[in-house]
C-alpha cells in the first residue's frame, strides 16, 4: 500500500511575493489571501506542536483564533498577536475600501506584515527544535520520512 502523501508545503514566501506583485487588481482577493497566508503560517506552528488547528473564529477571524491557540501554554507566542491583528486590520481596509487610492500600498504593507509573521514563526520553530521553517516543521517532515 502506497504511503499517504502529505500535501506539498505551501510556498509562503512565493505567495507573499506574488501578493506584492499583484497589487490591488482585486482588493477582495488580496484581503482573503493576506488572511489565508497568516492562517497557514500559524497552522504550521500549531501542527508542529502536535495539535489540531482550530476551525473556530475569534472576533470573526480564524487567524485570531489560531493565534490564541498557538499562545495557549506558550505566552511568548503573544509577541505575534499584534501582527495578526494588523493583518486583519489591513484585510478589513481592503474589503471596506477597495477603491481607496492607498489600496495598493495597503496590500504591500499587509504582505510585509505577513512576512514578519512568517519570519517570527520560523524563529520560534527553530528555537523550539521543531524545524527550520514553518513549512518544514520537524513533526511533519518526520512523519513524511517515516512514510506515514
Amino acid at each position: 500500500m502506497a504511503a499517504a502523501q502529505l500535501p506539498e508545503p505551501v510556498p509562503i514566501e512565493e505567495r507573499i511575493e506574488a501578493l506584492m506583485a499583484q497589487g490591488v487588481a482585486d482588493a477582495e482577493r488580496s484581503a482573503a489571501e493576506l488572511l489565508a497566508i497568516g492562517e497557514v503560517v500559524i497552522e504550521r506552528f500549531v501542527l508542529a506542536r502536535g495539535l489540531v488547528p482550530t476551525e473556530a473564529t475569534h472576533e470573526g477571524f480564524r487567524l485570531l483564533a489560531l493565534q490564541r491557540q498557538g499562545a495557549a501554554g506558550e505566552p511568548s507566542f503573544n509577541a505575534c498577536r499584534e501582527s495578526c491583528r494588523e493583518l486583519v486590520y489591513h484585510a478589513n481596509l481592503l474589503r471596506l475600501e477597495p477603491w481607496h487610492p492607498e489600496a495598493g500600498r495597503r496590500v504591500r504593507l499587509g504582505a510585509m506584515i505577513a512576512r514578519h509573521l512568517m519570519l517570527f514563526i520560523d524563529g520560534k520553530l527553530e528555537i523550539a527544535g521543531l524545524g527550520e521553517f514553518c513549512c518544514a516543521a520537524r513533526p511533519l517532515r518526520a512523519a513524511e520520512a517515516a512514510g506515514a
Binding site: 504593507l109 506584515i113 514578519h116 527553530e126
Partner: protein
C-alpha cells in the same frame, strides 16, 4: 500631569552602560533640559535580562526586587527604567510579588541572605522613560519648549515587543484616554509629534525584532530586522525612533549585516527618541550621543538642521 515624577529614582541597567550608552546620555540630557531630576540607584544590579528566567524565574524576580528595595531605601516611590527589558522585569517582579507566594518566599530568603530588607509589592512604582516625559511634561509642555522643530522629519516609532507584554503586568495601561495602549502604543508618537515630527503609520511597531535569538540564530534576526526596516521605508519613514537599547542595537547591527550577508541595503536611520527630543529641545548631536550610534544619521540631520 504628574508632579511626583519630576524627581525619580533612575535605573539605567547594564545595556545603558554599554551598547546603549547613547540612550543613557540622551535620557539624562533631555531630563536636565526639561528640569526633571534623575537620581541613580545606589549599587544597582543587573535585572537578569532575558536569560536568568530561563534558569530560575524566581531568582530573576529577586534581582529586580533588590533594585526596588534600593529605591525604597533611598526614599523613592517611583523608579524610571528606559530599557524595555529592565522595565519589563521590574514590572514583572512587582506583579509576581503581589500574586505568587513562591516568588515572595524566595525573595524573603535571598534578601535575608544578602543582608537587606525584602521588597514588598506596592511600595515603588516602575515607569518607562516614555511615561516619565509624557506624564510630567506632556505634549503641550513640550511644544512650548521646542527650539528646533522636527517638522518634516518622517518617523516610524518602534516600541518592540516587551514594552506592552504581557498585558497583565501593566495594569495602568489600556485605561482609556491618556493611558498607553498595549495593542497600539502611542506615547512615543505623541511626544515626537509634539516636537514637530511627522509620525507615519507603522504596522510593525510592536513586532518582534529577533533580539532574543540574535546570537543563536542570527539569520532569522537579520531577516526580521530587514523586514522592519523595509516596512518602515515603505511607510515613508526616514527615521526609526526607538525606546529600547536592545531593539536599537539589533536594528543597527542587522541593518549592516543585511547589507553584508543578504546584499539588501536600507537607508532608514535609527535614533533613540530621546536623541530626537533632545535635538528638538536645542541640544547638540554630541550632547545626545548621536556619534555613538552605528547608524550614521549625520547627513540627514545636517540637511534638516538638527543638532
Amino acid at each position: 500631569m504628574t508632579e511626583s515624577y519630576r524627581r525619580v529614582a533612575y535605573y539605567p541597567g547594564c545595556a545603558l552602560e554599554g551598547t546603549g550608552h547613547a540612550y543613557d546620555r540622551s535620557t539624562r540630557a533631555v531630563g536636565k533640559a526639561l528640569g526633571l531630576e534623575l537620581v541613580e540607584l545606589d549599587n544597582w544590579n543587573c535585572c537578569g535580562a532575558m536569560e536568568v528566567k530561563n534558569v530560575d524565574p524566581k531568582l530573576q524576580t529577586y534581582l529586580s526586587a533588590r533594585n526596588l528595595a534600593i529605591a525604597e531605601k533611598m526614599g523613592f516611590s517611583t523608579v524610571m527604567a528606559p530599557c524595555n527589558g529592565c522595565y519589563h522585569n521590574l514590572k514583572k517582579a512587582e506583579y509576581d510579588l503581589a500574586n505568587d507566594p513562591g516568588s515572595t518566599a524566595v525573595n524573603e530568603r535571598l534578601s535575608a541572605k544578602a543582608g537587606h530588607a525584602a521588597y514588598r509589592s506596592g511600595k515603588v512604582a516602575t515607569i518607562h522613560a516614555l511615561d516619565w516625559i509624557k506624564q510630567t511634561i506632556g505634549e503641550e509642555g513640550l511644544k512650548v519648549r521646542v527650539k528646533n522643530s522636527l517638522a518634516g522629519l518622517r518617523i516610524a516609532n518602534y516600541y518592540g515587543c516587551m514594552y506592552t507584554r504581557p498585558r497583565h503586568i501593566f495594569p495602568e495601561k489600556d485605561k482609556g484616554t491618556g493611558s498607553e495602549s498595549t495593542a497600539k502604543p502611542h506615547f512615543m508618537d505623541d511626544l515626537l509629534a509634539a516636537a514637530g515630527a511627522e509620525c507615519v503609520e507603522y504596522p510593525l511597531k510592536t513586532a518582534c525584532c529577533g533580539g532574543a535569538h540574535t546570537l543563536s540564530d542570527s539569520d532569522t534576526s537579520t531577516k526580521l530586522v530587514l523586514n522592519l526596516l523595509t516596512t518602515a521605508e515603505a511607510c515613508g519613514a526616514e527615521v526609526i525612533a526607538t525606546e529600547c537599547p536592545t531593539c536599537h542595537t539589533g536594528l543597527e547591527m542587522h541593518q549592516v549585516r543585511a547589507e553584508k550577508v543578504l546584499g539588501k541595503k536600507t537607508s532608514v536611520k535609527i535614533l533613540y527618541f530621546t536623541q530626537l527630543l533632545g535635538m528638538a529641545l536645542g541640544l547638540s548631536r554630541r550632547r545626545v550621543g548621536v556619534q555613538e550610534n552605528l547608524s550614521d544619521a549625520s547627513a540627514l540631520l545636517t540637511a534638516r538642521r538638527l543638532g
